[in-house]
């Protein structure tokens, strides 16, 4: 466990190798192999470290490894007037929460790396190396984020994953929509990061340290801010602003759907499984702070559940397969925040883990579908793919059932835990969450129906091997059978699938086909199906670590994660610390007392109810999209207004355009006017003053100073013109003059005496 610093370092090394050498020298396979090897090694180390941690007693599962002193101690005043020593070590901390996270990141990361080797196989050689460089770099930063033992190391990872997200969304940077999406993601994240940084500043000025454990222990001694909005509440609010940016919550969720412009493995790894959960992880990491700020907790819960509902409703009507999944991700992240907000930190973290499995699975499955369809993302042009993509279908079905919350797949346990906790703490939140759960089941089944069931609606393909022209045409001209070919709702998805630089080569690649015309839907090669199957297994069994007590399980994950969410008693020594432990224990017991006890039967009833809701959602979707597809069209017409609002994502982007963005532009233009007139005026004015005074100064210089100097020169010159004539060079002249001189002096001497 001493070597946990190697876990982030290995992908970093892979990124360095691929980035410095790979882009120029390595083949596609070599750069892929390097990246995969590094991730595999990191996974191995993570497993070893995790296993060793499991061997420790539950209250000692927190290992700090300080790699180096990063920022040496410098005196810096805190808000209570004391001058603290501000120093930050580059430290890693392995505890149950970060242990779970590194397993998720390295495990899913490795599978996605493997998947990418096949998915990206038709990219240009340098592009593949660049892709794997970014992907490895992302893992490096993500592991720093989850392993960092203080806010600053976490912040490095936090910013780093944002950077990699930007780079990978804009991976096809020739495509305008992709580079725009990258910028959107980056800038939106900056707004959140602003909050995060403010939170970190406030933490230092309040506690005088940035170490997670020290902050936790210090915060545990402070009273719960139940009646007022104190400094802890502000810290938590700022941190939550950071989390909304990174984890795509209201109001900063707009970047995540656009982030689907990136390659699908990126969407799976970064925008579903790992990076977007960083906000949830951060909240969990600061659980002690948050549980001392009940107001902020309420805000978190409300924002979370509203995000879940809003994203789910948008997801109901999207036609782009990846956008459905993107809104689903936003929605599921909303679930996690709901869990955090009602104080169920373990449930949120548990859902984080299960979601990582099934959402990565769904994204990779959608990637496989897109791959099979030659780059097509519009679900209306799919359908009936079950027989062409058996493995993808089976694994995606697992993912769908898991996210819908069908027993005994992983999503059931985690989602149910959240719903249960929400029911216990806040009935309104629970109702909204249940509605969202039904919608989740509905839109996921809708996705499956439109993609895999029914008849094939996609473009025709040529069976002959030399029909490149026909295939290229077929790719862009919709099939005559497609009823939506020129439909109205087609617009918003159109640019995604047929972007101006649609050169990313999905058109014609895949197992055994080589470079040639597209031969119709086909199953993906093994490197793509293997991760699907592995993740499907994960999506099935991951929930078993959290089987609730009501079902005869032990909810192992909650017990396992609990030490990460409370102030540690064993690690602290001294009087104040003891007090802190006491206070936290009191707080915990108070919480328990406040918690209404819900009988096991109620919990079981809730489970059955949510299962029922999920099945209802699936059944309705099945009826709408498989049995009677015309019903959905009819509904869309009947509720045209609502449908339009949902299709346009509640006009949030437009609203931001009208307010924040145009406001920013107007402010920028205003400032520019001020700049040009006032600031430039002052600068130019002072410039003119300088020029004029310099002109006068020059005039004085030329006349007075130069005049004097020249005058002296002229005097010397004129004088010497006459005097030099004495210098004849003839000795006798000199001697004569000397004689006269002597004669004169002697005469004076003699006669003037």
């Amino acid at each position: 466990m001493k070597y946990i610093w190697l876990i982030p370092l290995l992908p970093g090394l892979g990124a360095a190798i691929n980035g410095l050498l790979g882009i120029r020298y390595f083949s596609r396979k070599a750069s892929g192999a390097i990246a995969c090897t590094m991730m595999l090694a990191a996974l191995g180390l993570s497993l070893v470290a995790f296993w060793q941690m499991l061997g420790l007693p539950a209250d000692a599962r927190g290992v700090d490894v300080v790699v180096a002193q990063w920022i040496p101690s410098i005196p810096l005043a805190t808000s209570n007037g004391q001058v603290g020593m501000f120093g930050v070590p580059w430290g890693y901390r392995l505890d149950p929460l970060s242990g779970m996270m590194i397993l998720v990141v390295t495990g899913i990361g490795t599978l996605i790396h493997v998947y990418s080797t096949a998915y990206m196989a038709d990219e240009p050689r340098g592009g593949v190396a660049r892709f794997f460089c970014y992907l490895n770099l992302f893992c490096f930063f993500m592991l720093n984020l989850v392993l960092g033992d203080n806010f600053l190391v976490m912040f490095v990872g936090w910013e780093g994953v944002g950077l990699c997200s930007y780079l990978l969304i804009g991976y096809w940077y020739e495509k305008k929509s992709a580079s725009d999406a990258g910028k959107k993601a980056f800038i939106t994240n900056r707004i959140g990061d602003w909050g995060f940084v403010l939170g970190v500043f406030l933490i230092y000025s309040t506690f005088g340290t940035l170490d997670f454990r020290a902050v936790q222990n210090a915060a545990a001694t402070m009273p719960v801010e139940a009646m007022h909005f104190g400094v802890l509440s502000f810290i938590c609010l700022f941190l939550f602003v950071g989390a909304t940016g990174k984890s795509a919550q209201i109001p900063l969720f707009v970047w995540l759907p656009d982030a689907m412009e990136g390659p699908t493995p990126v969407s799976a790894l970064i925008h579903a499984a790992t990076m977007v959960t960083a906000g949830v992880y951060m909240l969990g990491r600061n659980a002690v702070l948050f549980s001392h700020a009940p107001y902020v907790m309420t805000i978190v819960a409300i924002v979370g559940v509203l995000t879940a509902l809003m994203a789910a409703t948008i997801g109901l009507v999207q036609y782009d397969i990846k956008r459905v999944l993107a809104y689903s991700t936003v929605s599921q992240l909303g679930y996690m925040f709901t869990a955090m907000g009602v104080g169920a930190f373990s449930a949120g973290a548990f859902h984080l883990m299960t979601h990582a499995f099934f959402k990565a699975l769904l994204f990779l499955g959608s990637g496989s579908v897109i791959h099979a369809m030659g780059g097509e993302q519009d679900m209306r042009k799919m359908g009936g793919l079950k027989k062409y993509l058996p493995v993808t279908f089976a694994t995606m079905m697992v993912g769908t059932l898991a996210i819908s919350g069908i027993i005994p797949l992983s999503g059931f346990f985690s989602k149910d835990e959240i719903l249960f906790q929400a029911f216990v703490h806040n009935k309104v939140v629970w109702v909204v969450a249940v509605i969202t759960a039904a919608m989740t089941a509905f839109y996921m089944w809708r996705l499956m129906s439109m993609t895999f069931f029914g008849g094939y609606n996609g473009p025709a393909w040529e069976t002959s091997s030399h029909a490149a022209v026909a295939t290229a045409a077929a790719h862009h001209v919709p099939h005559p059978a497609d009823p939506h070919a020129h439909g109205q709702a087609h617009k918003d998805d159109h640019e995604v699938s047929h972007g101006p630089a649609d050169t990313h080569g999905h058109d014609d690649h895949g197992g055994g086909h080589g470079h040639g015309p597209w031969h119709g839907p086909h199953e993906s090669p093994t490197p793509m199906t293997f991760p699907l199957m592995a993740l499907a297994v994960g999506a099935i069994v991951a929930g078993l670590v959290g089987v609730p007590i009501a079902m005869g399980g032990s909810n192992a994950i909650e017990k396992f994660l609990e030490p990460s969410f409370t102030a540690s008693e064993s690690a602290v020594a001294g009087e104040g610390a003891a007090k802190g432990a006491e206070a936290s224990a009191e707080a915990a017991s108070a919480e328990h007392e406040a918690e209404p006890h819900v009988s096991v039967n109620v919990e079981r009833g809730l489970m059955l109810f949510s299962l029922f809701v999920a099945i209802c959602g699936i059944a309705v979707a099945h009826k709408f999209y498989v049995k009677n597809p015309e019903i959905s069209d009819g509904l869309a017409e009947q509720w045209a207004g609502a449908h339009k609002v949902l299709s346009n994502k509640y006009y949030v982007d437009e609203a931001y355009d009208a307010t924040v963005i145009s406001g920013t532009f107007a402010a920028g233009k205003g400032l520019w006017t001020v700049d040009r007139n006032v600031v430039d005026g002052v600068v130019n004015g002072s410039g003119w003053i300088t020029i004029i005074s310099a002109w006068f100064s020059g005039l004085t210089d030329r006349t007075v100073v130069d005049g004097l100097v020249n005058l002296v020169g002229r005097i010397c010159e004129e004088g010497s013109f006459w005097f030099r004539k004495i210098q004849t060079g003839l000795v006798q002249n000199y001697a004569l003059l000397m004689l006269f001189g002597v004669f004169a002096f002697v005469s004076i001497y003699l006669f003037m005496r």
Partner: protein, 101 residues
Amino acid sequence: MPITPTHYMLLSAALFIIGVIGVMVRRNIIIIFMSIELILNAVNINLIAFSDQLHNVIGQVFAVFVIAVAAAEAAVGLGIILAFYRNKESVNIDEMNLMRW
């Protein structure tokens, strides 16, 4: 008629004036040197005359110094004249006007 210091001084003055006139008017640098020697010897006569008159030997000592210095000066001067002659094929002092502006 006894020889008095006046006679010595007249002789000395005559020699001195002859020397000065020689230095001033002659063009041959060797003659000028010789005239300088005359001037020096006029001084020597004075020195020795007064030394005898005043019974003080210092005057004679000075005369010896003057002779020694004159000898050294003649040596250096002749060297310069030789070097000059090699360059200019002449010992005419009118042509020695290099040290002018």
